[in-house]
Amino acid sequence: MFSRGNPVPSGLPEGITIMNPQKKTTVVLFGLTVVFLLLAIDFFTSKSTAVPSYPPIPPVDKSFLSTATWRKSYADLVKNKEDLSDFDCYGCHEKGKAPPLRFDAKQNLIVPEEHKDIVMGHGSHGRNNNCFNCHNENNLELLSARDGKEIKFADSPQLCGSCHGPTYRDWEAGAHGRTSGYWDRSKGPIDRKLCVNCHDPHSPHFPGRQPAPGPHPLRAPAVAAAPESEPHH
């Protein structure tokens, strides 16, 4: 096709030919048609436009979205009209008579069978194991601070604050513990949580919990994840 062009005009190097314009148009159109045909064939046969597939991401467990606190305080139980039998001390105990405490040879409190759901673990030193450090010996329906001041169950933060001063100060300012509701007090109420909403007073250290799923890796990891180990220092 190319060889049928005009003869080389004088002055041009040998081997170069010039086509007449009509031929040129035909050649260009022919070329374009071939290109588009190839493209079309490619689009119809290949799957290159499909999004690469990856395993579906499972929906996250609803429990991770819950704003409920770790525990329920006495005030919550009263508010929700829930079972208060745990606080009915004089259903079993005798009024006006301090219950006796028993200790083993290592001076650890022996938790009586009736209270075996209580884990005594307030403080890592293991010395804060006397029930009447916080409970009122003479009236079990009240708490008592170190100076003997009687405190109601609903006002328990005062009791915690009698030892944990800086934390109590932070809590009063809203810096310790969760605050929810309205930051703008003119628009609505703030919802403060009590110490016992999160901490078990008998064993206040925060227990570990299962973390929510992490970011989805999109592809299955090439190698199995290394076992979780403690970092080196």
Binding site: F36, A40, P59, A173, S180, Y182, D184, C198, G208
Partner: protein, 300 residues
């Protein structure tokens, strides 16, 4: 023209047209063309209140059409005398990632493909080297011994690099300190994503996918209304909650009380107390000069 050349030329022409049409087939896969009203919409800051009302109504219709739920879309304006600050207590954070998922649920992020605004970094005690951070940790129980956790999200910088690089001013800083994105103005160039030193911006590479029963119908124009493919999104301090006076979703879900939010211009707020009294607080990558409104602090 001879009969032969006519036939030949028409055959070539027909083949050519057929080939061209066939090669444009991938265009058929595009289903999310913007509507005329969407395409012609004015810039957020130029919209009059009447035009804004129309836009909000149109968005409500679009969401109802797509999800079958009539949402409540509002355009919340910043309040006077309010500048938001976030404080995060690194002593308290246990790395449970509840904030990540509460954020996704509140702000209508795509579930699959997954978009999350918060990334929780786990780092060994004794250093704050981000290079040592791990965010895919998955032990049975957190917190792990010897680690601390550092959730990172948009730091709402006072000097935001993402705003500087946006070629179309689709992202800007509001007077209350929140850097927002107009999803209808964003062209998806991802310059802001590249400029952000905190990996806080997320791009919708594909059409977002939110289960209908999980859509949060309380929406705001600059906040959690559903996004479309090809636009950028980021944490906006739950604008639909905070500008109505409420705490962000991540604050309300934190089981450890590690997250604190409030108005720094109010001397009585928690954040004012924290910045005044806590011994140590850091701004992540403060050497970048971005001056974040997001502070990390320690109790002890």
């Amino acid at each position: 023209m001879t009969r032969r050349s006519f036939l030949r030329n028409s055959a070539v022409f027909a083949t050519g047209i057929a080939a061209l049409t066939a090669s444009l087939r991938p265009l058929l896969d595009i289903t999310d063309f913007p509507s005329a009203a969407q395409f012609m919409q004015k810039y957020y800051k130029e919209l009059t209140p009447e035009e804004m009302a129309k836009v909000l109504n149109r968005i409500e219709n679009e969401v109802e059409h797509q999800y079958g739920i009539r949402p409540h879309v509002r355009d919340y304006k910043p309040m006077d005398g309010v500048e938001y600050v976030y404080c995060l207590n690194l002593t308290r954070c246990i790395g449970c990632r509840k904030c990540v998922h509460a954020c996704v649920a509140e702000n209508n992020q795509s579930r699959d493909p997954e978009i999350q605004y918060i990334r929780v970094l786990r780092m060994p005690h004794g250093s704050l080297v981000i290079d040592n951070a791990e965010h895919n940790y998955a032990p049975d129980k957190v917190p792990g011994k010897g680690y601390f956790y550092m959730p990172v999200q948009c730091q709402q910088c006072k000097n935001p690099p993402c705003v500087k690089v946006c070629p179309v001013h689709a992202t800007w800083q509001e007077t209350d300190g929140i850097t927002v994105v107009d999803y209808n103005w964003c062209i998806g160039c991802r310059y802001c994503e590249a400029a952000c030193p905190y990996w806080a911006r997320r791009f919708n590479f594909a059409k977002p996918n939110i289960p209908k029963d999980q859509l949060n119908p309380e929406m705001s124009y600059l906040g959690n209304r559903p996004r479309s493919r090809g636009v950028m999104e980021k944490c906006h301090f739950c604008i639909q909650r905070t500008r109505a006076g409420r705490y962000p979703a991540c604050v309300e879900v934190c089981p450890a009380g590690a997250r604190k939010f409030g108005n720094i211009l109010d001397p009585e707020s928690e954040v004012s107390y924290i910045l005044k009294t806590k011994r140590v607080f850091i701004q992540l990558k403060e050497e970048m000069g971005t001056s974040p409104r997001f502070f990390y602090y320690f109790d002890v």
